[in-house]
C-alpha cells in the first residue's frame, strides 16, 4: 500500500511488513499500524512510520546494539498481547528522541521499548517496572555491535 507521510513523503510499503500495535504507542493510541524503514542502508537507526497518521514518524533503534546488557523481560500478559509462542522471535525497538542537531542531544527511551513478535507482527509498547533503564539515555558514542548479536530474543527487526 501507499503511505503519504508529511515528513517522509509518499512511500510504497509492502503490506506483509505492516506491524500492528493494537494499543498504539503511548500518546498515540489511535495510530496502530506501522512499518519500519531504513533511514540509511546499514544504519541501526530506522524510521517507525505510522500507516494511519500521515504526520507520525519516529526514529527507533535496536537497544541491544548500543547497550549489550539490555534486556526487556516479557511478561505473561505481554506474551498474550503479542500472541507469542515459545519458538517465536521477538524484536525490540527503543524510541529515539532528537532534540537538536548534535548527536549528544539525541537520547533513547530504554524504559518503554516496543516489542514486536516477528511471526504475528503484533507489537506493544511496554513500560518496564524496574527503574534501571532511563527514558532519556544518551546514545553512546561508540559504534554499536551488529543487531541481534547479543540476544536472540532481542534481535533487531529484519
Amino acid at each position: 500500500m501507499r503511505i503519504e507521510n508529511t515528513k517522509l513523503g509518499d512511500i510504497e510499503v509492502d503490506d506483509a511488513r505492516i506491524v500492528t500495535l493494537p494499543e498504539g504507542i503511548l500518546g498515540f493510541s489511535d495510530a496502530r499500524r506501522y512499518v519500519v524503514l531504513d533511514i540509511r542502508k546499514g544504519s541501526n537507526l530506522k524510521w517507525l512510520l505510522s500507516v494511519d497518521r500521515p504526520e507520525l514518524a519516529l526514529v527507533v533503534t535496536d537497544p541491544c546494539a548500543w547497550f549489550p546488557d539490555y534486556r526487556m523481560p516479557l511478561t505473561d500478559s505481554d506474551a498474550e498481547a503479542l500472541a507469542f509462542l515459545e519458538e517465536d522471535e521477538l524484536s525490540v525497538m527503543a524510541i529515539v528522541t532528537v532534540r537538536g542537531r548534535r548527536r549528544e542531544d539525541t537520547t533513547v527511551n530504554l524504559r518503554a521499548p516496543i516489542a514486536v513478535n516477528l511471526r504475528t507482527l503484533l507489537g506493544k509498547q511496554v513500560v518496564l517496572s524496574e527503574d534501571r533503564w532511563g527514558i532519556q539515555v544518551p546514545l553512546p558514542v561508540k559504534t554499536p555491535s551488529p543487531s541481534g548479536a547479543t540476544d536472540r530474543r532481542a534481535a533487531g527487526l529484519r
Binding site: 546494539a65 505473561d76 548534535r102 539525541t106 509498547q125 518496564l128 527514558i135 554499536p144
Partner: protein
C-alpha cells in the same frame, strides 16, 4: 472513583491477584506494598506520563537529522 479509607497495616484486594498493603502513613506520604502477578507491571503514574511526553517529543524528529554524525550507528 471508589474511595476507601484504610489504616496502616490494612490491605486492599484488587481482583483475586493484586494485594495492596498500607505499610506506613507519614506526613503527606503513604508507603504501599504491592503484591501482583508477574504478568502485571506496576509503575508510578508519573512514569507513564513521562513516556507519553517522550513519545510526543520523539515524533518531532526532523527527516534529515542523521547526516551530521560520524559513526551514527552503522553496522559496518
Amino acid at each position: 472513583m471508589l474511595v476507601l479509607t484504610r489504616k496502616s497495616g490494612e490491605r486492599l484486594m484488587i481482583g483475586d491477584d493484586v494485594m495492596i498493603t498500607v505499610l506506613d502513613v507519614g506526613r503527606g506520604q503513604v508507603r504501599l506494598g504491592i503484591r501482583a502477578p508477574d504478568g502485571l507491571r506496576v509503575y508510578r503514574e508519573e512514569i507513564y506520563v513521562r513516556v507519553i511526553e517522550e513519545n510526543r517529543h520523539a515524533a518531532e524528529a526532523p527527516r534529515d537529522f542523521l547526516p551530521d554524525w560520524e559513526g551514527n550507528g552503522d553496522e559496518d
